[in-house]
Symmetry: C2
Subunit: 247 residues, 2 copies
C-alpha cells in the first residue's frame, strides 16, 4: 500500500496467514484484490494480508502493522513460520502490474517473511474485517490467489497442524469448560480428517492437565457428557518434567 511519506523497502515483504476457527470450520483471512491492469483488464482475486516493510521497520512490527491496516485485527500474536524467496515468485504479469501500480516502484525480486496465527472468529470483531475488504474464507474453498500465496497458506497450515499436535493451542479456542466431543471436533477441523472417537478419548484423558468437572451437560437427548477444563498449571509443571518423545 503506497502511503505518502512512507518509504518502502521494495525487497522484503511480510504476509500473514490468519486461521480462524468457528464451530466445525477452519477459515483463512483473505483480502479482495480488485484492480484494472494497464491493458484495461479487470483483475479480481484474493491475497493474504501483507505488505512491503518500510525502511527501518522491524519485521514482526511490520506484520502486525500490515494486518491491522488491512483487516482491522489488532493485538494478534503472530508467529514467524517460514520465508518465501523463490526467484520466480513474482513473474505473473498481473502481479507485476499490480505491484507497480500500488507501490509506484518497479518491483523485482521480493522475499516475504510469513507469519501465522490461529484465532477464534466469534471472539474477534469480524465487522471491522468486512469493512476493510477482508473476508474469512473456508480453507476448503480458497479461490484464486495472488503470487505464491497458495503455497504460503498450505505451508502455514502444516505448521499449524504440527503445533496443534505438540502444544496445547486448541484449548484457547474452546469455552473454559467443554466436553471431549468439542475438543475432538476442533482437532478434526484443523487436522482436516476424522479421528477415531475411542482413541481420541483414551489419549486425551491420559493427559493429567485435562481436569474432569463434576458438572454434566444438561438438556441433551443423548447420555450427558462430563465437562472438562484445561489446567495450564498442571501442564506447565508436566512440561518441565517431560522429555517429549512424542514421535
Amino acid at each position: 500500500m503506497n502511503v505518502p511519506g512512507r518509504e518502502i523497502n521494495p525487497h522484503i515483504s511480510v504476509d500473514c496467514v490468519i486461521f480462524g476457527f468457528s464451530t466445525n470450520q477452519l477459515k483463512v483471512l483473505l483480502i479482495k484484490r480488485a484492480h484494472t491492469g494497464p491493458s484495461g483488464k479487470r483483475i479480481k482475486d484474493h491475497k493474504l494480508p501483507g505488505d512491503f516493510i518500510t525502511i527501518n521497520e522491524d519485521l514482526d512490527l511490520a506484520a502486525s502493522r500490515t494486518l491491522e491496516e488491512l483487516t482491522g485485527l489488532k493485538d494478534i500474536y503472530l508467529q514467524q513460520f517460514a520465508f518465501f524467496g523463490r526467484p520466480g515468485r513474482i513473474s505473473n504479469r498481473v502481479d507485476i502490474d499490480w505491484l507497480n501500480a500500488t507501490t509506484g516502484h518497479e518491483i523485482q525480486r521480493v522475499v516475504t517473511a510469513a507469519y501465522y496465527s490461529l484465532i477464534n472468529i466469534t471472539e474477534t470483531n469480524s465487522d471491522f474485517a468486512i469493512k476493510n475488504n477482508a473476508a474469512w474464507i473456508d480453507i476448503q474453498q480458497v479461490p484464486d490467489l495472488a503470487f505464491d500465496h497458495d503455497t504460503i497458506i498450505a505451508n502455514g497450515l502444516k505448521h499449524l497442524q504440527k503445533t496443534l499436535r505438540n502444544e496445547p493451542i486448541g484449548f484457547e479456542l474452546l469455552p473454559e469448560k467443554f466436553i471431549i466431543r468439542e475438543l475432538q471436533s476442533l482437532y478434526e477441523v484443523i487436522l482436516g480428517c476424522a479421528l477415531d472417537n475411542r482413541n481420541f478419548r483414551k489419549k486425551i484423558l491420559k493427559s493429567k492437565y485435562m481436569v474432569q468437572l463434576e458438572e454434566k451437560q444438561s438438556g441433551v437427548a443423548h447420555k450427558p457428557a462430563y465437562y472438562y477444563r484445561f489446567d495450564r498449571n498442571i501442564y506447565e509443571k508436566h512440561k518441565k518434567e517431560s522429555l517429549g518423545f512424542n514421535f
Copy 2:
C-alpha cells in the same frame, strides 16, 4: 564473499547454524573472520557460514552453496528456522567496514534467512572444514561473534531442542545398535541438562519403535546393558496413527 562476475542481492543473506554432535559434546561450525579495518585496526572474531544471495538465486540453494564454499560441507540437509531482520542488526562499525570491504557494496539493511542442521562430526570430513578457516567450537565456549550471530545460534539451538523432543532425530547420530545410556547422553548433550536415568529409561522404553536386541555389551566392568535399535517402520506406522498430544 565477492566473487568476480557474481552479482549479489545486497538486501538478503543466508546464514547456516551447523550443530555437530560428537561423544558428549555439542559444537557449532564457525568461520574465523580476520580483517584489517580502514583505521588499520586488526579484527579477529568468528561468524556463521553465510553470505548474500546472488541475483536470481533460490534461498535454499544459496544456503547450501554458501556452506560448501565456506566450509567444504556438502549434501547437508538444511532446515529453515527463522529470519532475522532487526533494523539495527548491522550497526557495529566493524561489521559495516567488513561488509563494504568484502562485497564492494555500501551495505545497509540486510534480512538474513537462517538455516540449521545437526550432523555427526565423526562422520563428516572435518579436515576440509579446517582447511577452509572453519572450526567446530563447543556450544558452551562460543567466542565473540559478528553481527547478531549469537542471537541466531541461540535461536537455532532452541529449534534443535524442540525438534529433538518431538521427532526421532537423535537416532541418526548413534550407531545402528546402541545402549540406552548412549541415547540418554545424546539427549543430555543437546538439551544441555542432566536427565533422570530412571525416568528417561521408562519413557524411552514405552515407545514401540525402540527394539531390544538379544545382544548385550561385552567386556565392560559393570553389568552389561542390552543393545537397542530404532525401527523407522514402526515409527512411521505409529506416527500415522498418533495424534501427538505431547504437550
